[in-house]
């Protein structure tokens, strides 16, 4: 071994020592979290990693993802040459040539990917320093971080080409071949052995620097992103909030008030962030200039984790330097979230920023009783009258009297329980929707009944505000009532009830087949039980987060609209839809900071010049109705999908509006 070889060995060992020490530290940080990483169904997890990770499916949902795809695969391809170069640095003359055709193929790919990666890097530089889309704007430190990585990769590739120019390898290498004459004209010589050695050293040193730099930088995601996809937590899939055990022996603290109270998956999550900002771009709170950015939430937690961990690793009970709330996550950040889940949908590595906030909300509400006064009033009302307005529970079924809809107490021998929800029972406007749904079901000959005064709030708002205690009481009460009547199938006109009954009631022993009214109505149309007449109106449909993004119901409401008019899509639609602003208990809180989310959405709606706006959620209807009014476009009719269908089916409007 030469002296140079020996030096390289020392560098390799040192770089790996630093790298693995840091990785070990990060693993220990993650292990400070609760529970263990979810690992059931390993084959499904591998598939996720293959498709979403190696296939880059989530990354490729945006055009910028193409650049990432090239850099990602370029990394693997070029690592082949890097490895060869490192070994050759220690044992001069070493090569992978014995691999034969594969060697030829890899040399070819390296040549091509070198150029592609350089192109992607150029675009990355352009986006970060010239174009600067909002989602990529970051603090100076983070920007420098990005720059260092881009420069390191670029230098690496330049050195690679220089080496290949000086010392060609078998393969179809048009890029190297094209560069060679230019290189020769600049340096005067093609194959100087000293030149090769210089570039070889440059390449190896940069590679090792990169190795050391990765786990200290945002490029940590190289190590954590794929595991993060693998260890996906099914309990939190699609915005679900697992049921907290409130009666656990010795449990003194509920929700998240310290970073170590998060699960290990939550902590792995925050280390996987690459600062791409797609979550931020999708966030309605951020879009309306509120202090919340899901990206900053995750980065804040990441920095906090790494800051607190050294002390915690020495002593688990060490007092934190900063309080998770309000030092790391501020009050106005915490409460700005509408739980629309756009951030979680947007993340290419399935980080869940929203669920991090819910945990802190639970601690604020359960441990401190600390949340917006307006929301306290709403929840107190839910406690006494089972609805957030505090209207008499006794009057819950009043809308149904004139329509001859029976309660299950009167006749439990029905196919469907129509779970009306609070808004459908009390909100003057949404009661019209309730009546439209009831009339359509009657028209189609569906046998259904309601719970009337026995129905209570499902607890969606309570749960998402963080009042797990109240949410559990409400869920249990509803499940007991429904099971008491032997309910099997449920139809509801509220996406929030829908999500709770379908995804959370099973935790309380309530297992039902749940459909949203648009799903049932679309099915009834298909079966020919409803025969709408096509109308001329151009209808714009606004997707409800809890129906669409949460539960994937996109097509049923559209089918119902298409049967009664022409459908026009908004720019942000389906899983990319923009929240109305009322989810996560925000319905019951004042929106005091920044612009109003419902007005922003209403502007987007007005822009596409609809003749009619359709919604499928009581919150959306209230918010969009207010938004259209603020934008002075109250003249645009706003209707629920069921109302459109009722009109198209010739169900007299008076029937629906007056219930007479």
């Amino acid at each position: 071994m030469t002296l140079g070889g020996l030096l390289l060995v020392v560098l390799i060992v040192a770089a790996h020592a630093v790298f693995f020490a840091r990785v070990y530290f990060i693993i220990r940080c993650i292990r400070l979290g609760q529970g263990s990483l979810p690992a059931a169904f390993p084959l499904l997890r591998m598939k996720d990693v293959l498709v979403k990770g190696f296939g880059q499916v989530l990354v490729l949902r945006q055009p910028a993802g193409i650049g990432h795809f090239l850099i990602f695969w370029g990394f693997f391809v070029l690592t082949y040459g890097t490895l060869e170069g490192l070994i050759a640095g220690v044992f001069p003359g070493f090569s992978f040539a014995w691999m034969g055709p594969f060697y030829w193929l890899m040399n070819t790919l390296q040549d091509w990917f070198g150029l592609l990666v350089m192109g992607a890097l150029a675009v990355a530089l352009y986006r970060r320093f010239v174009w600067r889309p909002r989602r990529l704007q970051a603090s100076l430190a983070h920007t420098i971080d990005a720059l260092i990585i881009i420069v390191l990769i670029a230098v690496l590739i330049k050195a690679f080409y220089a080496m290949r120019i000086i010392e060609p390898k078998p393969g179809f290498t048009p890029v190297t071949d094209m560069l060679r004459p230019w290189f020769v004209s600049v340096t005067g010589k093609a194959a100087h052995p000293m030149g090769y050695a210089a570039f070889h050293w440059l390449h190896n040193v940069v590679v090792l620097s990169f190795l050391v730099y990765i786990p200290f930088s945002k490029h940590l995601h190289l190590i954590t992103a794929l595991p993060n996809l693998y260890f996906r937590d099914e309990k939190r899939i699609a915005g679900r909030i697992p049921k907290l055990d409130l009666e656990a022996e010795g449990m003194e603290s509920f929700g998240i008030s310290k970073i170590t109270e998060y699960s290990r998956k939550d902590l792995l999550d925050v280390t996987a962030c690459t600062e791409c900002g797609r979550c931020q771009e999708a966030c309605p709170a951020y879009f309306t200039n509120k202090p919340l950015s899901p990206k900053e939430v995750v980065l804040g937690l990441k920095a906090h984790l790494f800051e607190e961990c050294p002390a915690l690793l020495r002593d688990r009970t060490a007092a934190p330097k900063k309080a998770l709330y309000p030092d790391v996550i501020e009050k106005d950040v915490l409460w700005a979230c509408t739980t629309c889940r756009a951030c979680e949908e947007a993340c290419p590595v399935e980080i869940l920023p929203m669920s991090k906030l819910i945990g802190i909300r639970q601690a604020r509400v359960l441990m401190e009783g600390d949340f917006a006064e307006e929301a306290q009033t709403a929840l107190r009302n839910v406690e006494t009258q089972s609805n957030p307005w505090g209207l008499p529970q006794e009057a819950r079924g009043a809308w149904a009297e004139a329509l001859g809809v029976k309660t299950l107490a009167e006749d439990a021998n029905v196919d469907y329980l129509f779970f009306v929800g609070c808004a459908g029972s009390y909100d003057q406007r949404y009661m019209q929707v309730t009546r439209a749904v009831a009339r359509l079901l009657q028209e189609a000959g569906v046998s259904f009944g309601i719970l009337g005064a026995e129905e209570c709030c499902t607890g969606d708002s309570a749960k998402r505000i963080g009042n797990e205690y109240l949410a559990q009481m409400l869920a249990q009460q509803n499940v007991d009532t429904m099971n008491g009547y032997g309910v099997k199938k449920v139809v509801t006109a509220c996406p929030h009830c829908y999500n709770t009954i379908k995804n959370e009631f099973p935790d309380y022993g309530g297992n039902y087949e749940v459909v949203h009214h648009t799903e049932l109505l679309a099915a009834l149309m298909q079966q020919g039980k409803l025969k709408p007449k096509q109308g001329p109106a151009t209808v714009v449909y606004h997707d409800s987060c809890y129906l669409g993004r949460y539960n994937g119901v996109f097509d049923a409401p559209r089918a119902a609209i298409l049967a009664s008019g022409t459908l026009k899509e908004l720019l942000r639609t389906r899983s990319n839809s923009f929240c109305c602003g009322a989810g996560g208990g925000r319905m019951w809180m004042e929106e005091r900071i920044g612009g109003r989310i419902n007005e922003e959405r209403s502007k987007e709606i007005i822009q596409v010049k609809p003749e009619v706006v359709a919604t499928a959620c009581p919150f959306c209807m209230t918010m969009i109705s207010d938004g259209l009014k603020s934008e002075h476009r109250a003249d645009i009719p706003l209707k629920d999908v069921a109302e459109l269908l009722a009109e198209a089916c010739g169900i007299v409007k008076k029937d629906v509006v007056e219930g007479e």
Binding site: L366, M367, G369, G390, L391, P392, E394
Partner: protein, 256 residues
């Protein structure tokens, strides 16, 4: 410092009220009950005082056995124990005050808080009567409370202004909205409240003569507020409609 809070279990005012067949009472079958909202302010003020000066807070109520739930909600806010006197809920304010005064005498509190009135019959009499029976200074409708040790300073709301009063202890005070924001109970406190003691005693145990509890006045009849609508649509030019509206409000309905 011993702090007592008088609370009352009342129907939620959002309930649908129906007059019972006797015409002198309200049907209670479908009513939802809550702690009278002004009493929540009293509980909050008592707990704040305890947090500042130490001591104990006892929630005292007269009502049926179910009133324990209302006491329990006060305990969940942070009060220490409860006392429920049963068998006296049908009494008039005069009798109620005697019952409460007798019970409070055994507790001997330094400060008594109560809501300025209960939102069921809105009599606004019981706390003041209790104070008189106990020969205590009292201030009603307070919007600020400060304890100076042996005395307290309060702001008392009056029409178009306020009094600032200093009262020696022991004293009784009734709270008005605006004095504080009643806290939202935390889960650990709700759990603890389930284990806190609520002493239940029947009115008989107080040894009061039955004639002492006789009503000062009795209910003759209950009627619901009129809720009819005129359903009148005014026609014509805006100016005429306004003139007509003002005329109706002034001359026919006599509300202007």
């Amino acid at each position: 410092m011993k702090i007592a809070v008088l609370v009352k279990r009342v129907p939620d005012t959002a309930s649908v009220f129906k007059i019972a067949v006797d015409g002198k009472s309200v049907e209670t079958a479908n009513l939802k009950y809550v702690m009278s909202p002004y009493d929540e302010h009293a509980v909050e003020e008592a707990i704040k005082l305890k947090e500042k000066n130490g001591g104990e807070v006892i929630i005292v109520s007269v009502g049926p056995s179910e009133a324990k739930e209302i006491i329990r909600s006060g305990l969940a806010m942070g009060a220490d124990s409860g006392l429920l006197i049963t068998g006296a809920e049908a009494l008039s304010p005069r009798g109620l005050a005697k019952v409460l005064a007798a019970a409070l005498k055994t507790l001997a509190p330094d400060v008594i808080f109560a809501g300025k009135q209960a939102v069921d019959d809105d009599a606004a009499q019981v706390p003041e009567r209790v104070a008189e029976l106990l020969d205590m200074p009292h201030a009603s409708v307070i919007t600020r409370f400060e304890c100076l040790g042996a005395s307290v300073v309060v702001d008392r709301e009056i029409e178009g202004g306020q009094y600032t009063l200093e009262l020696p202890l022991p004293a009784l005070l009734t709270t008005q909205k605006g004095i504080n924001t009643p806290r939202y109970p935390t889960l650990p406190n709700i759990m603890k409240a389930k284990k806190k003691e609520i002493r239940e005693m029947s009115v008989g145990e107080l040894g009061l003569a039955s004639e002492a509890l006789a009503a000062g006045c009795t209910v003759e009849a209950f009627t619901l507020p009129r809720q009819e609508r005129l359903r009148k649509v005014l026609e014509g030019e805006s100016i005429q409609k306004v003139q007509e509206l003002v005329r109706i409000l002034r001359e026919t309905e006599k509300v202007l």
